[in-house]
């Protein structure tokens, strides 16, 4: 059977009323958290993990994917109307989108963002469906050393390749790897770094760390800034419909944004925002109206918004086919799979095709739902922006602790939540990126296991790691990704890299 038949079967699974309901909850929640500044899809999925523990695995995963897609849609609303990005992948949208809203063209800006997101989501999800089977075929021959090389590459790109400092990226990553060592060693059964505390034998929960870093650290950092004047929400004036010229000027940026965003998302580069930066730069170069850039050019909204949705779908390619998360949200989704005893990767396509293809097909449905949620119902989401900050953050902390208490109602777990929350606050304060520590905790044990397996097979011969061509190439790219940015920064060209900082979503 080809990908097309599998996709059709998946659509049958996803059209089940219960699954449609899960998808609807997911996209609604996703849009809401995308709209609200300060919480993103990574945090939301982390909060929901303990809550979904007893629910249906397929439904829960469909809901998580809906949250990811919805977050990408919702972020644009906040960027355009408030000039504060709702999540990090919408920073660029604020540049042109908010200017458009100030000139009374908020409606068309929202429309081009929503329709562009829809088209990009549609194309990218189909690409995901048709690419996945061939990547799975390649991945089936992957042994421990190839997986180890892949994870090293992910470590380097997430921590050191982008962002403004390799030192702080690597420090964050290695703190994550140190946390990953805590608990019972998977191969020898010995307790490491547990100090006789029974709660530590199972290791540090990914959800505890993620919730502490993203919710509590963020709340502390915002509270610490003290009084910041509220920015006004711009009302949507005039028609939300785009004129003929708007359509003419938007469709090419949508397609280019998709073409840029999808591969960037699929590469282990740590987030959707990089694609949006590249798309914006491309549109600025190619536009016939260069004078409008900076004043509210519609191309500057259409391209990046398409790019961030395409990269969300792109992120799912390595996650589903290789079990490799390339962004913080994908890392938490991986924890979601593991919670149900599922390990994403080539084998999952063979052992549980209904679930995988149902998930992919449900993304197409979620995408259509999002278009409806975001165009006619836009007024509803704008209201969310008027919630006063004290209530909003008090509510966020309530739900953040609810997730941890629900998973494990122990004082020790809450203590870790508080401790990591303070750590997250200090890291934010000193400019340490958050994504590497989370990715380190999740991928660390997997990388260690693959390394030790590879070396056990070779009886301790380290050269085996570079003897397979795939592993050698991957390790080579990882070395380049570590060294080239270091040289660029030394030669004073670091500004571009810090612009490309991959942080949260």
């Amino acid at each position: 059977m080809g990908a097309f038949d599998f996709l059709m079967q998946g659509l049958v699974t996803a059209a089940d009323p219960m699954m449609l309901f899960y998808a609807l909850i997911g996209v609604t929640l996703g849009t809401a958290v995308g709209v609200l500044p300060g919480i993103g899809p990574a945090l939301t999925v982390a909060l929901l993990l303990p809550v979904t523990y007893r629910l249906d695995p397929a439904g829960s995963l469909i809901m998580f994917a809906g949250i990811y897609y919805g977050g990408m849609y919702g972020g644009s609303t906040t960027s355009i109307l408030l000039n504060t990005p709702g999540e990090s992948a919408s920073i660029i949208t604020a540049l042109e989108g908010n200017k458009m809203a100030r000139r009374g063209r908020g409606g068309p800006a929202l429309a081009t963002a929503a329709i562009g997101s829809f088209i990009a989501g549609l194309i990218a999800t189909l690409l995901l469906a048709f690419l996945a089977p061939s990547i799975v075929k390649v991945a089936l021959v992957f042994g421990p050393r190839e997986y180890f090389a892949l994870m090293v590459l992910a470590f380097v790109t997430v921590s050191a390749a982008f962002g403004d400092s390799a030192l702080r990226g690597l420090t964050s990553l290695f703190l994550g790897l140190a946390l990953a060592c805590i608990g019972i060693d998977q191969l020898s059964g010995q307790a490491r770094l547990a100090f006789g505390v029974p709660e530590l034998l199972d290791g540090v929960e990914v959800t505890t760390l993620a919730v502490a870093m993203f919710a509590i650290g963020e709340a502390l950092a915002i509270a610490g800034q003290g009084k910041v004047g509220r920015e006004e929400v711009l009302a949507v004036k005039g028609s939300v419909w785009m004129t003929k010229t708007d359509w003419k000027r938007s469709w090419k940026p949508w397609l280019r944004g998709t073409a840029i965003g999808f591969p960037i998302g699929a590469m282990p580069a740590g987030g959707a925002e990089i694609g949006t930066f590249l798309s914006y730069a491309t549109e600025k170069k190619l536009t016939k109206h260069p004078e409008e850039f900076g004043q509210g050019a519609i191309e500057g909204v259409a391209g990046p918004e398409a790019a961030n949705n395409a990269s969300a779908a792109g992120t799912l390619v390595p996650l589903l086919t290789l079990g490799l998360p390339t962004s913080a949200t994908a890392a938490i989704m991986l924890a979601g799979f593991q919670q149900f005893g599922l390990q994403p990767g080539p084998l999952l396509f063979a052992t549980n095709p209904t679930l995988v293809w149902g998930l992919i097909a449900s993304l197409l449905i979620a995408n259509a739902m999002l278009l409806v949620l975001n165009l006619p119902l836009i007024g509803l989401w704008v209201k969310l922006l008027t919630i006063p900050r004290p209530w909003l953050y008090a509510g966020i902390l309530l739900f953040a602790t609810l997730g941890t208490i629900g998973a494990n109602p122990s004082t020790f777990e809450l203590g870790m939540l508080l401790g990591f929350g303070v750590l997250g606050y200090v890291m934010r304060l000193f400019g340490y990126p958050i994504a590497p520590i989370v990715v380190g905790l999740i991928l660390g044990p997997m990388a260690e296991q693959q390394l030790r397996r590879a070396l056990a097979i070779s009886q301790g011969d380290w050269t085996v790691l570079v003897q397979s061509p795939i592993a050698a190439v991957l390790l080579g790219i990882a070395a380049l990704a570590l060294i080239v940015p270091l040289i660029l920064r030394l030669r004073g060209k670091g500004a571009v890299l810090s612009q490309l900082a991959g942080d949260e979503d």
């Binding site: 140190a178 509590i216 004290p390 208490i405 004082t411 301790g460």
Partner: protein, 164 residues
């Protein structure tokens, strides 16, 4: 509530030096812990102690690098912080942790809710505390009764649901 948490940027960055020291301590603890593990490398020559040792070694290197950055003042300028609100939230979390099993989910979380709202400028505890407890109670009912999550019950919850 407008104390200065951090002095303006200086040549020698003391806070960054503290971070460097902290990293070195983490590395030291890892090395100490790995020393007592029986390193059964087996065929691979890589046992349970190997990876923690490598991570600790890199952390030591990063500590030195951070130290150098601290002396050169390489760290980016930090936003001025207001310690008051931060401490309110930390106090809220600490109180919730201490009271959770004594007072139950609703009261403990309601206190966290009220203190967080206070940190963000809603100072009237007579309003925020009842709102927080009521909201937490609704959350407790939904999640413990409908979604079967195990949330600690206290006097308030037992008043309405006899066996929690």
């Amino acid at each position: 509530m407008t104390g200065k948490f951090f002095e303006p940027q200086r040549r020698l960055d003391r806070a960054a030096l503290v971070i460097a020291f902290g990293l070195a301590v983490v590395a030291g603890v890892m090395l100490w812990d790995s020393a007592r593990l029986a390193d059964l490398g087996g065929y691979s020559g890589v046992g349970p102690a190997s990876v923690p040792r490598v991570v600790a070694a890199v952390l030591l290197l990063l500590a030195v690098w951070t130290g150098i950055a601290a002396f050169r003042g390489d760290f980016p300028a930090r936003p001025r912080q207001d310690p008051g609100p931060v401490l309110w939230i930390v106090a809220g979390l600490a109180l919730q942790l201490l009271l959770l099993h004594v007072a139950g989910f609703s009261i403990a979380t309601g206190i966290l809710f009220a203190l967080t709202a206070r940190a963000f400028g809603k100072r009237n505890l007579a309003l925020t505390l009842p709102v927080g407890i009521a909201l937490s109670f609704v959350v407790w009912v939904v999640f413990s009764q409908l979604l079967m999550l195990h949330l600690p019950a206290g006097p308030l919850e037992l008043l309405f649901f006899q066996k929690g």
